[in-house]
Symmetry: D2
Subunit: 413 residues, 4 copies
């Protein structure tokens, strides 16, 4: 099998329809709400998803048995990028965070009963969900092992106590996948368990919705209090004590799907900048003929193409069932930073207009900053990337000409 | 056909053997001459190529009919990277610049007779060649249209007059592919023709070998004088007036093969840095545990993996016979700059040792700087990238949500 | 006289009092309105300015004869930085844009009568003002010569027609200093005149307030329509046709005072990051002990100190009455970009908290992005910097070892 | 006293004469030896110093009582920059490393007898010296506390054993200031002592001269072996056990004088780039009219002016006798990196010519890379800068609006 970048015609077809759908249905909706859906307007969501279903582009990542289009990660990469062209595109296709990642997690780990109860309606867009891992300092943050929320055994179930914050989509979610410590102490690398908690559970409350720089995450980011929150035994997702492991199951692909959607944002920003540069005159010529503007446009093209290439490669790795942690970290770090640069340059090319709300750039600018922090800040990923590279170097022994001097299996370091 | 990163087993096998060959035969030779082959020591070249032939890795890019391994660009990408791990690896495999690009050009454009006379011995490593396009200011440089060397019709042939410089490998080359103006004036976009000039031609002289920062180009870089240099009609390569067009035929792949070899250099530098970081202690811990060192190591891993991904993508594009100018420019610009950063960081990680000649980093540091200038400086490529992007934006018309919001054919913008 | 960085005790005293005043009075007010004063809440402004007057720190830049503290630019640099620590500090001291620049302009150019009528109440904080130069594309923007607003001679005065936008503080301003073309065509380097237009003039209307990324400019940014706006002869500020020249009188110092205030913002962001790093634990240690965090903190210290040094130097240059365009451009470009980096790093160091509205960083992040566009985008300044440097190089002639190899008068290139 | 950037007329005069001297005497000498003086050609040195003396610019930093011009650091900043315009300028003025730093150290710490014997001839250019601190890994490097060379008490003196490397100027030095451990173990923060060792001492040998990327340090960099090297009691410089402390006395100013000389290098490179841009035509216009070239030229102007400003500030701090460690680290880190960027851009602007030895840029490029490693690599300085900033933040306590919100004494953080 040789290196190949062609896109499956079936995937290409969905991508084309997604592009048309975004243009006709989603961009107008985005303009209307100015990309701000932190309040979680249900009618908007329902309407968009209805239209996506009609366009045949709904739930591209969801397995066919749950009513989706069943694309693998490479297929998702193409379609999610098309959807990400609008901040609301992924919501319309029901492939936005955190629901998209939760769908994957439930499909991989849940019991058949849990799937019927939680996954089926989620995949169909009838409900929303959230994933509650992050805690206020000094709890779980960029270092998940700091997990402090605790679940104690009670007869027939568990009692959970703790505080979560920055829980995206919590306000309005039908259920929460909550990470709690069933063993060990904060700082220990094991001992975490995932629990499925219904929205109605009296022990769990949305304390507040946190104001943030970004606005386009449906339902916003909330702080949750778990006070003697009791759940039955069947609330355990997967097995007790394997929560950190499952988090990786969720996070690997989730990092890549983030990148796919962000790449759409970058393309949107760059298109706005290109239009502006092609149309506007300054200093006796077209903006697009000024060297410093060209440099910015070119750098953004470079950022976009390299992002897509490394992202596709990481997707392929995971699609092969290989441990793709290194490439996933590399893709997440590079793409999140590249997207930030692209949007920043687009703002600069558009000048005053770029910082006005007359065009969506200012909104995109606010939106992309958190990418470098979500799902592991760049620093945490760089730390992990370096550690893996050093470990590999140690294994081969000093002086040796290193790993096979070229990849012979396509895989990363 | 889906996106695929697996490597053909045949290619993987050649790459593995190349890696072993470089370790056993080439690295010791490189150490001996300290990576300096500007003087063009023939016995060294002959010996290395003999060994490569014995190892079954000679001429991976050369079509099978001319005695090579017949790899396409994607296959070359894998093998050339392995070869590039040593500065002399490509020379050993007979896939170094400028011979490798000339082989490709002759195969694509030459008459059968010219192929027998020039290509066959070149492909076999019996001769070397050079490509004479660049001229001292104000002649052809980053802007090839400034071409000033002129060929005038004489009975039965042409008389060429002009000055060339930075002609790599000219000293000792059996023949020169020389670009001269057969029509128009300097600045005109057409009117160039390529000529095959034998080394013995009394009208062409190597005036001097230019001292440069780099040292690893076999034969160095020379200045040539063409004074009433007469050639027969059969010295014309391809057709009269199509020289600029052929230059593109040569340059597209040549830019990518440069990137492949450079990527090997980057891997070498990074391996040295990893070894050093894994082994050395400072500030009460291992260097590899210091955050700022980790950041440098991680950034270099990111640079290497993204470089490889975008490079492979550009190779695929050309292998499909598609116009890959945009992706080729992107790959050339990104990879040449990424490789420079990787080597620079490796020097920094190794400290005083890194700038000493005790290890090869100082030599690699000198070697990679010109990459950002050779084969079109970064600025020229960025200008071209921006122009193509703006043209595409204009074609779709302002306001429209842009090109298909995701690639559906795998190709670049 | 030798190079000297000591601060005049009188200035140091004002700076100290400003710091205390900001802490006690301004930061609480800023928190209350979350740094958003685009709506122009008059009671807030009045209250803050009252308090500043009581603290003896009101109007540090205003000449003593108009009731201010009469500091030169170097004195302002120290005090404005202290004021800029809060987004509302400059408003409190009546040294915010655009009033501060207009005060300077009126003092330099206005007739005694105009001063009494416009400058006196402005300096006292009784009124606000605006400066109407920028126009929607293709009018005056980064290239002021594109000025399209036109003033025609009418008996006893002028009739002005045009469109202005991004006019900061226009909503609520008692008067507008409006730039209009009294000669030539858009693109011509001369022919502009400044007019003083009262808020009540029926020919000038605030069409709308533009939504923007930033929020802390009192009164926001508005779009103005001038439709047959008639003014008397005494509305001309300075002389007819000298508008572009006066714009430079205003812009030189205005760029530097922007930098001073921004530097305060950078210090604020860095202090937040330092506090966070000093207090928070992660990965088994304090955040402040992680190398990648240290790198960000150090880079911000470097950005702040170099910014201050080059800014002070440019101030000194203008204080000497020298043409400081080159150093002013350099300071504006460097400081605006450095401040952006400092705030960006602070956000990253603070992680999720950094993008929440729980702390002011997200707000500072939005606020500083426009700095690279206001008062000449970085690209325009770089173009001007390069042009001046090349001109100087040409004047000395090629080959010569250049300008005096070291500055001997303290001045810039 | 107010912030002041004027240059003392006396200093300005020396700087002017230095500029003229460099142009007339030093640049020709540099060209002749191609900036390579690692072999330490004594006649060249003698000749240049003779000429400098004649021009009245010899030894600007040396106290008047030792025959120098007695400039303080601010005066040195101006004059050394002028000298640094040529790689050999500082050698000519006898203010090159390491002699310049040793002069300062001896003047500050040595006994009167030691001064007569070592300082007097050194200041007069009759001898050269070296400073032996750095050791091969795992000895003293970026972490000086790792010092492993040991001095044991013997009757009437000391016996020193150890290995030193990268000892600049050792080959040909009349004496060595050698740092050895008289107490504690490698890793301990104290216990070091400085010894003055005559070149003739049989226990100290130059084992080899290390090949390095740079070439312009007179005498090159050597490896020294100390084998039972015996010295008398009067060889101790200053007091026993205070070696680390004295190293700081030497290093503070030495870092700044490095920056001064490097700034001259940056100016040289930028002047070459400006000349090239002003003179060369490409793409139908002058190079200097291409936006991407302008951007590079402007960025270099910005780098040079900000470097000079922050450097002067650090000099002033030390001239006041204040602890200037923070600003010294900031200046060293910023200037060494800025100079590297300036030279790199100049190479890029000059294209192929830039990497040829036809002009001095390739040589400057090799020369400046080590600046980021010498005298503390950037990483060590950033670590120290962050630590000091965090400590300051902790002292003021969290939540407080930080250090005085503006400097009121001119000093750094």
């Amino acid at each position: 099998m040789a290196i190949e970048f062609d896109i499956d015609p079936h995937v290409a077809d969905i991508a084309r329809r997604t592009t048309a759908f975004v243009r006709e249905h989603v961009l107008p909706a985005e303009e209307e709400c100015r990309g701000d859906v932190h309040a979680g307007p249900e009618p908007l969501r329902r309407g968009l998803q209805e239209a996506a279903r009609a366009a045949g582009v709904f739930a591209p990542h969801v397995p066919v048995r749950w009513g989706g289009l069943g694309l693998d990660l490479r297929g998702q990469a193409v379609v999610f990028e098309a959807a990400g062209y609008s901040l609301l595109g992924p919501l319309a296709l029901n492939c936005a965070a955190p629901d998209e990642g939760n769908t994957h997690l439930l499909d991989a780990v849940a019991t058949e009963e849990q799937r019927a109860r939680f996954l089926a309606p989620l995949a169909a867009g009838e409900t929303r969900s959230c994933f509650a891992m992050t805690e206020p300092s000094p709890g779980a943050g960029s270092d998940p092992r700091a997990l402090a929320t605790r679940a104690e055994r009670i007869p027939g179930g568990w009692r959970i106590d703790g505080r979560k914050w920055f829980i995206s989509g919590a306000d309005g979610a039908a259920f929460t996948i909550c990470m709690a410590r069933t063993g060990g102490e904060p700082g220990d690398p094991g001992g975490a368990t995932m629990f499925l908690i219904d929205a109605g559970n009296p022990g769990m409350k949305v304390v507040r919705n946190i104001g943030t720089l970004d606005r386009a995450l449906f339902g916003g980011h909330s702080e949750l209090a778990l006070d003697a929150c009791e759940v039955a035994d069947d609330a355990v997702l997967g097995e007790v004590h394997r929560g950190f492991e499952y988090a990786q199951v969720r996070l690997g692909p989730a990092r890549l799907t983030h990148c796919m959607r962000w790449l759409g944002v970058a393309r949107r920003a760059q298109d706005i900048a290109l239009d502006r540069a092609a149309g506007r005159r300054a200093f006796g010529g077209r903006l697009a003929e000024l060297g410093m503007v060209q440099q910015q446009l070119a750098d953004s093209e470079i950022d976009i193409e390299t992002s897509r290439a490394v992202l596709w490669r990481a997707c392929w790795e995971l699609d092969q069932g290989r441990p793709g942690a290194q490439l996933t970290s590399i893709a997440k770090t590079f793409v999140s930073e590249a997207v930030g640069r692209v949007v920043d340059r687009a703002v600069q090319v558009c000048g005053a207009l770029g910082i006005s709300e007359d065009i969506p750039l200012a909104s995109l600018y606010r939106e992309v900053r958190p990418f470098r922090i979500y799902d592991g800040p760049s620093e945490t990923h760089r730390w992990a990337i370096a550690k893996r590279a050093v470990r590999a170097a140690r294994e081969r022994g000093p002086g040796e000409p290193a790993r096979e001097a070229a990849p012979t299996r396509g895989g990363g370091a």
